[in-house]
Amino acid sequence: MSITEIIIISLIKIVIVLGITLITVAYLVYFERKIAAWAQNRIGPNRVGWQGILQPFADVFKLLLKEDIVPERANRIVHAIAPMIALFVAFTTYAVIPIGPNVNIFGYDISLVVADVNMGVLYVLALTSLGVYAITFAGWSSGSKYSLLGGIRSSAQMISYEISMGFSIGGVLLLAESLRPIDIVNSQTNLWNAIVQPIGFITFVVSAFAETNRLPFDLPEAEPELVGGFHTEYSSMKFAGFFLAEYANMVIASAMIVTLYLGGWHLPFEQSLGLSGIWLTVAQIASFFVKMGAMLFFFIWVRWSIPRFRYDQLMNLGWKVMFPLSLINIIWVAAIIMIFN
């Protein structure tokens, strides 16, 4: 492949991935509202379009038309940069997540990932930890005590859970012997990591909830105590930036869980299905999205089931439970490798 071909193919991939992401995020908001309604025996949005299917567009349009208010005591530059960082982090992370095996289109062998980097997992970890800057900057620059409290909580929470997240990933890396997401997925062809290392799976999922600031770990935005936390002083499209970033982070977290623990695009017993060529690829890509959808549903489902932790409980859980458990998981995986090799 010549350099122009690589650039063109990469651009097409970027457009497709970004498009899918934006639509997923938009409809995630819609499904969040729908599932919230169902959990409370309500119907949910059903006025805009068939069954409320155009609701996300109405929401975005409303946010666009709102007045953009910057508080008097805010640091204007940082205040404007914070949502940009949040969005940047949220959308660049998708680059390394593979959604299917290599496919052959018009004679080109194309991998279904924007950037097939050999340290993809590290890249995701690095970028998601940048996300904490968005929230702390937003909290600090707003010049409001509620925002500041939200920002401080967020940084403490994210740093605490990043550790157990990193150690849970350690177990996966030991098995895959690579940081490349495609290799990690391929290492799970026969047996998913969620089955091999259930403790690591649980600690990773819990840490992912904490990293994405989702309930039961949504202390940075705790509505009853902090009025909305770090985004109290944001309005209009700046607020929409945080809103989109939060949901985009949820999509990444689900995609990462699927890639690292649920076998990525691999179907269970895919050899025995007897599918061939293109159909197998289609089934595999579909299975990736089905798994991701299930994880997203789980995220929303948990939100409407479990109440928020208190701050000290959050820290206790992070340092005294999740951290040791993720270490135990590494020992467990190491023992498995020792026994079976």
Binding site: A39, Q40, N41, R42, I43, W301, W304, S305, I306
Partner: protein
Amino acid sequence: MSQTSNSLKKRKKDLTFWQKIYIPEIAKGLALTFKNMVRPKFTMEYPEEKFIPPPSYRGRPVLVLEETGEERCVACGLCSRVCPALAIEVQAAETEREKERYPEKFEINMLRCIFCGLCEEVCPEEAIVMSKDYELAFTNREDAIYGKDKLLTPVSQLEDRIEFLRKYK
């Protein structure tokens, strides 16, 4: 201080091992919310589907119009006297008919009305009753003052409220 630590100790003792590791309890909670997701919905889609209140409901007060086309009201003014929100204004007039008095003007200011139902309770003629109408929206204050044209309602529409009043008043 000692009291709190005592109660804390007691609570820790009360939790069993399975409760302490959270996961079965979380699963229970999730099962409960999922059960609710598939249950029938309570939502009534209002403009299309309207709530029909029971006879005990106190909606907009109305004047009863007999089948003969006469109003029941004799303009005694008791409703106006009892109204705690001073929403009712009655002006009496006389006729040559058997029932001599009738209200020349009967106005209820719906911005003032508090739907207490005292007018209905005090009325000796069962002439003013609370209807089932709850759709009250105005675009200006003048529209909110309901005169006789809006208040008079045929008795056939108010039968179950009148029956309810006879039973419980």
